[in-house]
Symmetry: D2
Subunit: 310 residues, 4 copies
């Protein structure tokens, strides 16, 4: 199987390199708009801890919303299932930055992976800390789960988003109006923009996702990052809500729990088998990486990794 | 494992028998409102074809929306992936009978498991046939996949729904206004109400679901009901959309692709491992069987059957 | 002033005859789609009962939604202010045939001039009668208020609408689901499509509107059609809701209570001064007569007839 | 008539003093929540400039949204009809602080009297000035139209709103995301909260409204405040949009263009006849003064002042 995986990963990177239709690089964050759309990277960590990579697997990119998975893990660690009184677990049926749903559901975001939900999650992480402490905690968590202390926050991206993130500021103020943020709006937004601006390579991201693929355990440090129950539940949320309003279609085509970000990265989790990261900056109409999704679809089929049958 | 399964099923039925909080029996279809809320049945077919049952596993109940899974299978067999131009694959973020989504998305239902989507699916099955022929086809399909020719349509339930189904009539007329129904509204509604009124026992329903659990194959007749690819995709839709606006929560708690009906039945599919049917008539706030969901949650945990990890 | 009025009316008809941009004739009712867009007619009845006309003032056209004003008058006469428990008095902020509002407001239409509201009004008129009797009553009312027994229902238009009126059928079924229709859906729709298919000329329509312009009184028969209080209230509804989602703009530009129909007719009411009818079949983006609105804007300015100041 | 008016005003104040059901004082702005609900004031200025007052007609109250009328007048004076490219003229069919409409209509508020629209209007006034200059301009305008230099901004109310105005901050950020605010969000909000915090008595407010009642002219200074055309148009907007989602009902019952504020004040305009101000702090379910509305209804009926007929 290891050979099959290496062959698959290499073939996929080769195929993706030939694609002319590569989607559109996110342009609403000026700093992201500059990224070259020709990048493609893929990395897969299997149950033995072996890593198969191809393409730009070691180039760092802005993980953006993929960070919501790690933020959720941390927030659950801090305040436990009480979080679910402040945020739901249902797909949204709306664009990722929609404010309409918040109005109808009186300030309770539908799930932790839409922006409003991630702001509440960020608020839960902040509680009782300064932004600096909260960001330090998030970064240390990533260093730990990825076994890599070089992961960093790209301050230019964070600044770029802070200058233009009026929709997120609207969401945060709206949540505060419903008293579903407890820390000052500016502080929550600051931490949110910074953890979305974390830069990671495919290799680092695939390493970081191991605890979700392998029952909550840390493969090298030993011990648990989260309980196996919690790992399953986070995977379930990734499957139903991980690709915004394209989550159903992604589950239909790919069949792997995964979380995408507008930087073009996707973290995929095959329970018991693999943690996967892909990166291609061009996005489809729902804001998910066009070639990244296709790469995962091919990989899932070649390896028989769909959780819905083989 | 067989013993573990039998023990699990028996223990679950025993536990459910003691519950006083059993949800509310659907009352918007008069004929369903009469069903005794004390019923509980469960049946599981494993990969060897062995069946474990407990409780009222042989009592027929109205499968209601569970029939949408079989209708979808038939419609895809007839018109193939062209169906996806007329209906989406995304969770709805709305109640199962919501008409608002149809207005915003111009007559394209979000998925085949909300009522509007199932009406389009029914229209696809009808094409070029009389209602009688279409219903005969649906029933023959169920006889085939369940290996059981005694499955029947409960005409009293169909009639009861036809007399009071104004919301469904609104949806059908609305779809027709967008030219997303091709057959006369009355005809589509007639077939729809009748296939929702199919009566099956847990044992029959678990048998009928085998092709989805086991890669599209018919375990006893041999050969394929659908391709393994299509089985996976239907399972994915069941996971993301099978419990209306409670689908995310069901995936989170249970982790098994499943479709519920307001008759209190749920069909669950564990790829490669089992086809499951449970029945308890009382519903929760989202219209899903209260004890049926709980029974599946316990079963999934005891057997390690979540598709999101073990 | 009589001369000023005659001059105004003649000048307006002459100006409208030269317009090349005439809007789009409604095409969703096949029978209406055939009407020649070059028509333009205008008729004004003043407080002395004198009539000024120009253009095609004596050609009959389909009054369509203008009939909702007369239907409302009749329904209020039958069931009084109890009607307001079943229909609101607020502008809708939505397209005239929107079903979304009905879902959010649980089956209570926002006002009697959107289609859903007019269906409830029609249901109130029907109560305890056959459709034939109800339609006879509506027609007799028009004969009386217009002093003209030649006004008739165009059955071809009614038939054309009945064959294609799926959105209205959706609305009616939806209202019935909320028990806000008491008569069978088919019957309500039949009466609705027929009273919308009443054919009148500008002259007849202006005559019919006199009771609203002149304090509820019947200028020639003597006595009251409605109380002055009720006339004022119907005028208020025409101003706030008479042009669908273009009502605010019409009030802003024209400043006269008025009700439009997709046949291209508009009835305008200047309290104490005049009853006006204009007709030009081409519609603007909101479904209101393009040249009809402009004609009323010019007339209002020339005569100083805005109710918002002179 | 002068005596009739004085009698009416006195009788109304006497009747209102006996009411036990007085509505609920706005509590979302802490500073407003302290106002005594027993206040009632009324002032009417007629075409001769005579003033009839009763009750607490000289007690200052927070005019809140009534200030939107004056802000609109100023913004139209500055940028003219170009304003209508940035804000609509239609009733909203939604609560005054709804953000949903903004999402569906891509950042164009439905009218200048809902909060989002008033923020755009405030942005137009600000253009090229500091907040201090803009507020000075607004205040000078009020001193001029009311002939009264004692009108002031209540800084405590402004501060109180600034501390709790998260919904308005959400709206402003959202508008900015659509580039429909050109000045910094904080600056627009600052000016907005301060002009809503202007304190005026009924007498001052009725004086300030004279230019709208009397064709745009300044009765004492001579000359025009606005053209008669613009006065009519502002009156039309007050009628269709002046009472949030209760505008239709207010037009139906009272028949006078009017603008309400959550401080409990209402400015009413009877074209050619009178400028009216009433104040009673308790609000109805739509956020409009309960007794203020009733007072205007009685006054309109007694004086025959409805614009929809007499």
């Amino acid at each position: 199987m290891k050979e099959a995986l290496l062959e698959a990963v290499t073939a996929i990177a080769a195929a993706m390199a030939t694609r002319s239709e590569r989607g559109r690089v996110a342009d609403y964050i000026p700093e992201l708009a500059r990224v070259d759309p020709d990048h493609f990277g893929i990395a897969v960590v299997d149950a033995d801890g072996d890593v198969a990579v191809a393409g730009d697997a070691d180039a760092p990119f802005s993980i953006q919303s993929v960070s919501k998975v790690f933020a959720l893990t941390l927030a659950l660690g801090k305040i436990g299932d009480g979080l679910w009184r402040r945020v739901g677990r249902e797909p949204s049926g709306n664009a990722f930055n929609s404010i309409t749903q918040l109005e109808y559901e009186k300030g309770i975001p539908r799930n932790p992976f839409i922006n409003a939900g991630a702001l509440v999650v960020t608020d839960a992480i902040l509680s009782g800390h300064t932004p600096k402490v909260a960001l330090g905690e998030i970064l240390r968590f990533l260093h730990f789960v990825a076994d890599d202390e070089t992961i960093f926050i790209d301050d230019k991206v964070a600044k770029s988003e802070q200058d233009t993130g009026f929709r997120n500021a609207a969401l945060a103020n709206y949540l505060r109006a419903f008293e579903n943020l407890r820390n000052p709006v500016e502080m929550v937004l600051g931490v949110y923009f910074h953890h979305c601006a974390i830069a990671m390579s495919c290799r680092q991201l695939a390493m970081a996702g191991r605890y979700l693929a392998f029952g909550g355990r840390h493969p090298t440090a030993g011990g648990r990052v989260v309980s196996s129950e919690r790992a399953k539940r986070i995977n379930a949320l990734m499957l139903t809500c991980g690709h915004y309003d394209g989550s159903g279609d992604f589950a239909f085509r790919v069949g792997i729990p995964a979380k995408s970000g507008v930087g073009g990265g996707i973290l995929g989790v095959v329970p018991g088998k693999a943690s996967i990261a892909v990166w291609s900056p061009g996005l489809d109409g729902q804001g998910n990486s066009l070639l990244g999704s296709e790469a995962l679809e091919i990989l899932s089929r070649r390896m028989g990794w769909s959780i819905f049958g083989d």
